[in-house]
Symmetry: C2
Amino acid sequence: MQNINSPSFFIGKGGGELISFGSGQPDLAPPAEAFAVLDNYRSFKYGQVCGLQELREALTPVYEKSQPGQFVITNGASEALDLVLRALYVPGGKILLPKPYYYSYPYNVQFAHLEIDYYELIDGKIVLEELKKKLPDARAILINSPSNPTGTLQDREVLKEIEKMAEELDIYVIADNVYRELVYVGEFYQLAGKKVISIDSFSKTYGMCGYRVGYLHSYDQQLVDKIVEIKTHASMNTNVLAQEMALAALKSPRDYIDHHLQIWSERRDMIYNGMKEMGLDLWQPEGAFYVFPKIENANKAINELYYKYQLIAYDGAWFGEPDRVRFSYALDVEKIQEGLKRLKLYLAEK
Amino acid sequence: MQNINSPSFFIGKGGGELISFGSGQPDLAPPAEAFAVLDNYRSFKYGQVCGLQELREALTPVYEKSQPGQFVITNGASEALDLVLRALYVPGGKILLPKPYYYSYPYNVQFAHLEIDYYELIDGKIVLEELKKKLPDARAILINSPSNPTGTLQDREVLKEIEKMAEELDIYVIADNVYRELVYVGEFYQLAGKKVISIDSFSKTYGMCGYRVGYLHSYDQQLVDKIVEIKTHASMNTNVLAQEMALAALKSPRDYIDHHLQIWSERRDMIYNGMKEMGLDLWQPEGAFYVFPKIENANKAINELYYKYQLIAYDGAWFGEPDRVRFSYALDVEKIQEGLKRLKLYLAEK
């Protein structure tokens, strides 16, 4: 029995008796309009490195007074963040990350040769006083709201204050907005302003994870040009067909998103209430599709859950919080119920 | 009239009266088998970061005694090189690049925070004596045979000697093999051994540029694991559908490649002979699809060719050779003839 020490242990594992609360992978298919693009598609040539013109045009309504030239279509939000960090590189540059964090963030910073500093979320929320101390030293701060893994949304007033501080201090704000359309409580607030670099994706909103289409937006044209320059040499255009599918998804009726939000809400209520009934200490998700309960000895827990109960969950330590376990509820209600049963059994027997 | 100072000036330019000898973009469509994959394709979930298992299995016959776990499928050869260099990073690490070089190489090295050194090709060929002096200082040497932009193939014996030196000195050899199937004279020699990292692509062989599928192979499992780790955070899996298309292309009858090689040969003869008749000094391409004639004042030439003769060609300076001009012959023979006419006119009138 191998000790499980990273999410990659679980890659390719699933199906059969196994219940996976692991990967943040929607099980809900993309809109039919996206697949309709495949009929008779026959293009094969390079596209523009910054992305399909029509797709960038279709994104302009999302960002006030934006221009197509301010967008870059990327291989998922992952590449968007990678490119942004590489473009922001300065020797000794420090990136402020939230803690808990999406597990890739520290690696992204490290692979861009930048330095990491963390700001602690208290009950999943930003504490402005702490930020005020740390911001002046930073090259950029990363905000992820709704958050993976906490499921929390940051307050509008707090985010507006961060915008202001960033402009005053001339520090970039990287807004990871990939869960913007998955909000149950309150409203998503879109960070804006000349120091904000927004990152978004078609993966979560439209179930297109495998196609790898994300994007970034910034009003700072020099920065966008620098990013396009890096991408020109590091990967060239994002897959042309996938961009057409993303465009079709974006243009599909809004019903798709609304209907899916209902499904996510139902799952959220089931897993949150189920865990509350077991006496677990957790936040009620305001957005995204994760719960992050306190479970002592999380690494032992995820090992036992996997080997004894055939249940996949992620060690909070991978997100910077070793006394919690992350459960993604990107699976249907029957499976969530079965998973909750197993978790209850584990908690009773441990 | 804007002075033309990089290949990106030409992106999106083409058609109409314009004849483009610019981009290295095959005009020949992928095999029908690749497009057949689109019928009824409905997958949408994340794939393995290292790539589709079946595709990596199908590639094992290409590399002697290779295993699927030694391959990583990437967003084109560009991402393969980017990942390899990032994985090879050590402070002050020096990468030996050929000169002339494919224009992305120096950027790739720079964006990986490594240092550049060049080895000069004489008439497009490696000079072992020079390499022997430079190799001991290097972290890795990059070999591109057949070469973009020179169209030359390196000698088998020279490459075998480099393999040997690299093993003795414990230096990596990065073999950019993307033009391996486009060889007119002699035979492609595949660098091999434990220090060799091979990079290849479906873009040139199968006309799939826009789909961005490439790969890398190495017998050094630790290095491959490091590359997969970077890709996990920097872009995740390569587009799942594009990988299926690449697999279908790979399995399609060999006729496709043979037939295309005939087309490329015909074009090569036409452009080489045409330029020879004009008295230009150039190498006869042994592989790939570029000619690289000496033309004085190359930047002035490509500006005049573009603005006065509606002909796109690339300044040799972008490839490290400012007294030459690169012409890609990835276009049909009628256009090549028309382009040659215009070039002749330019040479007569200048």
